[in-house]
């Protein structure tokens, strides 16, 4: 699996994604935001961080980077794009995913492990999970409060495009389990084609027992399995 890890000025989880891709046997390459051409890659990943310092709004300036034209074309052609945290914000700003990520309802940066319920297992990204499985994955963001209008939310629900939801220990999507005020406890969504996933929690930070959780590993493994030409 050849992966383009797109780096913007201010990205800071690029290295973490790179290492996670390597860990599942993938072949990652950093692609600087001013470079062009993503044709040779099997997947594109937009890392977390503070592209352009989150000035104006998370992802609002990064979406104007030259490489984003290629990312949009890549996604529209049905190939896999994963955006994590700031990457999710950029995907929304670029119109590849609906809705927006606004300031956490606490008005504070929030950083701790949360519980996620896997809502769909028939995507390229989530085939390695069980439906309803509860994952422990860290969040670290100040603008992760997912918002969309009623019609969009209804569509997301009806079309089963909500992939991860914040839940409590018993798997309930409660207000207490919601770390940022996201509507419908949304933590991650896919586009209509199911090939673009945006999520606020960091699966790349949950790939080693030593660091507290391996619940993110199945996501990268599923991608590697689907996208490696001679997958074992």
């Amino acid at each position: 699996m050849k992966v383009a890890v797109v780096t913007f000025p201010g990205s800071n989880c690029d290295y973490d994604l790179y290492k996670a891709v390597q860990q599942v046997g993938g072949d990652p390459t950093f692609v600087w935001h001013r470079e062009r051409g993503l044709e040779g890659y099997d997947a594109v990943m937009l890392p977390g961080g503070f592209s352009y310092g989150d000035y104006l709004r998370g992802g609002a300036i990064a979406r104007l980077s030259p490489v984003m034209e290629d990312v949009v074309a890549y996604a529209r052609s049905g190939r896999p794009v994963l955006g994590v945290c700031n990457g999710f914000q950029i995907l929304c700003e670029a119109g590849l995913l609906p809705g927006a990520l606004v300031r956490n309802d606490s008005l504070k940066f929030r950083s701790f492990p949360v519980r996620l319920r896997v809502e769909r297992t028939d995507t390229l990204f989530t085939e390695g999970y069980e439906e309803g499985q509860i994952l422990r994955i860290p969040i670290a963001h100040g603008e992760g409060n997912y918002e969309a209008d009623e019609a969009t939310l209804r569509r997301l629900e009806d079309e089963g495009r909500i992939v991860f939801r914040y839940v409590d220990a018993s798997g309930e999507a409660t207000d207490e389990a919601n770390p940022n005020g996201s509507w419908h406890n949304i933590a991650g969504i896919v586009n209509e084609g199911g090939n673009v996933l945006g999520m606020m929690p960091h699966p790349e930070r949950a790939v080693e027992e030593l660091l507290g959780s391996t619940d993110g590993l199945a996501l990268f493994r599923a991608m590697a399995r689907a996208l490696s030409p001679a997958a074992p």
């Binding site: 000025p9 800071n12 504070k108 940066f109 929030r110 950083s111 790939v207 030593l210 660091l211």
Partner: protein, 765 residues
């Protein structure tokens, strides 16, 4: 001193519009008449206004260490593993497997007292730059904070602003926060302490130092433009604050831009790796002046700097302003001759600016030009090394002696219900959970944090090796206040104990010495005794001091903070398998107390919360016993005997046990503990006797744990058993019992800070 070499001196005419040098102007620049005379001797003439400004900054306490240097020079600084000791941007140690660790702590107390958000944010920015200018990539930050009591609205404003500032800056740059400590006490009411520490990792051969050598090499300003912010910040940091410091001092506080910092970090590391530069230094305190003169001083060379070539934010800035600006996110770089274009290309990639602003010379002078006209011409070495240093008279204050000698025996009698006292101590913001803070910091970015904030020390693994590094900051200002020597020894001992509890070998120290006005004898006494105590402890633990920072004049309206010599200590974990958690791991595990309980209560949190007292002698520190204890625990760790280890400190044994219980797996485990000491229960539960660690182990390992302790001459005894999550927290003494449901304990411990910060009761101020 001998008259300086004036061979290369050139005539300097005053700039039009410069004020006359009067005694008042000299005084406003923080220089004494004697110091001014010395400047005249060095110059062989009257300095110009610009030159006076340069001297003022370099001879400020902040840059010149004039009241601390002599004592600091007595601290141990050498060990086979020390690669770079004091005098550089940061200390560097060898941590094995070809890696080196750069680390340093620095204060931003004064700016944070005036503008907490920017003050704290730029403190983080500055310390990151000190690390990456050594060629190391920052891998972790810690913060040591002190504030007044949280019942004051002003203190809550300062506290929340500082936490947000630290968080926003570090989060944006993407450096995990792995720990630190915070203490709330009225002793810090007007003067918060904000010390930021950073660790950086590099291959040993990647080390670069800030030495300007090789005449003709271009000097380049890199990063952000120079503006009018922070002018004379270094001199400002060397004065006491007064009530009106608040408004009038704001222009001296710098404004941070973490986004630019992140770009500068990447650009600097790329520059260093390219070989296109030979030296790099942050333009920190005293900006261009200190970076250029210090680099020249270290190389025994000189510099010519053209002010008209410095990229500025606004037109019309004078050389005086440009030289003394403390605009953030700027670097001074010595490029290799002919490779300037390469520097430009790297900077352009990162969307930053670089400009040649001068060159290294062999004339040994710090020479400033403005459109070709020389406006300052100072011999470089006397500027950086010639700052007069002082030893001051020191004498303990009567007030402190009185407090220390106060009879505390009435406080050993419980005040009503012991459980109530217990919850009061556990729920004090000094003991209670600091999650309210840590949840605002990114602790897991860079995916290497093994022990996040909240443990005894933070631990970060080194990718590609079995190793990890641990770091902690410690200092109980109350102890230092009551008896400075003992307090300083306790700070070093506690830092080392914290590292050992996580499984690390204490290795080296960076210190941040926060004190009041050293010209006052009782303050100088605190300073001197602290340094002597620190020195003794560093020798015993074999932890040399590789650098640090001195912050004097932490006074508001004549009232000084508690003397607070913060110890930032780093340690090496040889194998990640040695990393030991703080919380109990399994029901039926045995709980073993290492070290001895005493009847001491002086300086304790118990006294503060139950009697509003900071008094009595601080707990004694037996350095050799501490060393034996720490060696014993490391030996247990290496033998794989321990399930958990936790240092016993503020709040005493009761709070230590509560923390290990609450941090037990899956939300906490109950315990039943029996303590047979023939001592007053208050002292056993809440006394802060030093040299104690609570460990737990599997029942089969209990014997071995006790044997290792015995072989090291460390008192040890089994005091109880870990229970399941439904069991209570239960501690039994000969004539008293603490029985508390775990949920209640958790509510108290976790709920304290949120209750104070998120729904505070209105206060009078």
């Amino acid at each position: 001193m001998s008259a300086p070499d004036s061979t290369h001196a050139v005539p300097v005419a005053p700039r039009p519009g410069d004020p006359d040098i009067t005694a008042e102007l000299v005084d406003e620049h923080g220089l004494s008449p004697k110091e001014y005379e010395r400047i005249q001797r060095i110059m062989g003439r009257e300095p110009t206004f610009t030159e006076l400004g340069v001297f003022s900054a370099m001879w400020s306490e902040h840059c010149g260490y004039k009241n601390s240097k002599r004592l600091l020079s007595t601290l141990p600084t050498k060990a086979p593993w020390v690669i770079q000791g004091p005098g550089e941007n940061a200390g560097v140690i060898d941590i094995g497997d070809g890696y080196a660790l750069a680390f340093k702590i620095e204060s931003h107390n004064h700016p944070s007292a005036v503008e907490p958000y920017q003050g704290a944010a730029t403190g983080v920015g500055g310390i990151l730059r000190d690390i990456f200018t050594m060629g190391a990539r920052p891998i972790a930050v810690l913060d040591s904070l002190r504030f007044g009591d949280l019942d004051s609205g002003r203190v809550r404003y300062l506290f929340s602003g500082v936490v947000e500032g630290i968080g926003d800056y570090g989060n944006c740059v993407g450096i995990p926060n792995i720990g630190g400590e915070v203490q709330f006490d009225r002793g810090y009411e007007g003067n918060p302490i904000v010390n930021a520490m950073c660790l950086g990792l590099m291959k040993k051969e990647e080390l670069i130092t800030a030495v300007a050598e090789g005449a003709g090499r271009p000097l380049m300003a890199v990063g952000a433009r120079t503006g009018r912010d922070g002018i004379h910040g270094a001199t400002f940091a060397s004065e006491e604050l007064s009530e009106d410091s608040d408004e009038s001092s704001r222009p001296q506080v710098q404004v941070g831009d973490p986004f630019t910092e992140k770009l500068l970090l990447e650009a600097s590391l790329e520059l260093i790796a390219s070989g296109a530069i030979s030296a790099i230094q942050d333009m920190g305190a005293a900006g261009i002046t200190s970076s250029a003169s210090e680099m020249a001083g270290r190389g025994g060379s000189g510099v010519d700097l053209e002010m008209a070539d410095v990229p500025v934010r606004e037109p019309g800035m004078t050389p005086y302003e440009i030289l003394l600006s403390e605009s953030q996110e700027r670097m001074l770089v010595v490029a290799e001759e002919g490779r300037e274009d390469e520097v430009h290309r790297i900077l352009e990639k990162w969307e930053l600016e670089a400009a040649v602003i001068g060159q290294v010379t062999d004339h040994g002078r710090f020479r400033i030009l403005e459109n070709g006209e020389v406006v300052a011409d100072i011999p470089a070495l006397p500027l950086t090394e010639g700052c007069p240093t002082y030893e001051r008279p020191g004498e303990e204050s009567e007030e402190v002696r009185g407090l220390r000698e106060m009879d505390l025996s009435e406080h050993l009698i419980p005040r009503g219900d012991l459980v109530k006292s217990f919850l009061l101590v556990l729920g004090s913001p000094n003991v209670a959970s600091k999650r309210w803070i840590h949840d605002q910091y990114d602790t897991t970015v860079r995916t290497s944090t093994v022990v996040p904030p909240g443990g005894d020390a933070g631990v970060v693994r080194i990718r590609g090796t079995r190793r990890a590094v641990a770091a902690t900051t410690d200092c109980n200002g109350r102890y230092v206040y009551l008896e400075p020597g003992t307090g300083a020894r306790a700070a070093v001992a506690e830092a080392a104990r914290n590292l050992v509890c996580t499984g690390a070998l204490p290795t080296a120290i960076t210190n941040n010495l926060n004190f009041g006005n050293p010209l006052k004898p009782h303050i100088y006494h605190q300073f001197r005794e602290s340094i002597l105590g620190m020195k003794e402890a560093c020798q015993v633990f074999e932890t040399p001091v590789t650098g640090g920072n001195v912050s004097f004049y932490n006074e508001t309206d004549g009232r000084a903070i508690y003397p607070t010599p913060v110890i930032g200590m780093v340690g090496v974990v040889e194998d990640v398998d040695h990393i030991t958690p703080q919380g109990f791991q399994e029901p039926d595990h045995r709980i073993v107390l290492l070290g001895e309980n005493t009847a001491e209560l002086g300086g304790s949190e118990y006294l503060y919360v139950t009697a509003d007292l900071v008094a009595g002698p601080p707990p004694r520190v037996d350095l050799l016993a501490e060393r034996d204890l720490q060696r014993a625990v490391l030996s247990m760790v290496h033998k794989g005997l321990l399930a958990s280890a936790h240092d016993c400190s503020e709040g005493g044994l009761a709070c230590c046990l509560a923390e290990s219980a609450l941090k037990g797996v899956e939300g906490g485990l109950g315990i039943s503990v029996r303590l047979e000491d023939a001592l007053p229960p208050v002292a056993v539960l809440f006394g802060e006797a030093q040299g104690r660690i609570v460990v737990s182990c599997a029942p089969d390992d209990e014997r071995a744990v006790l044997e290792v302790a015995e072989s090291h001459g460390v008192p040890a005894r089994s005091i109880g058993t870990v229970r399941d999550a439904d069991h209570r927290f239960s501690v039994t003494l000969p004539d008293a019992t603490l029985e508390v449901p775990l949920a209640r304990l958790s509510e108290t411990y976790e709920g304290a800070l949120p209750a104070l910060m998120d729904s505070p009761t209105p206060s009078s101020d």
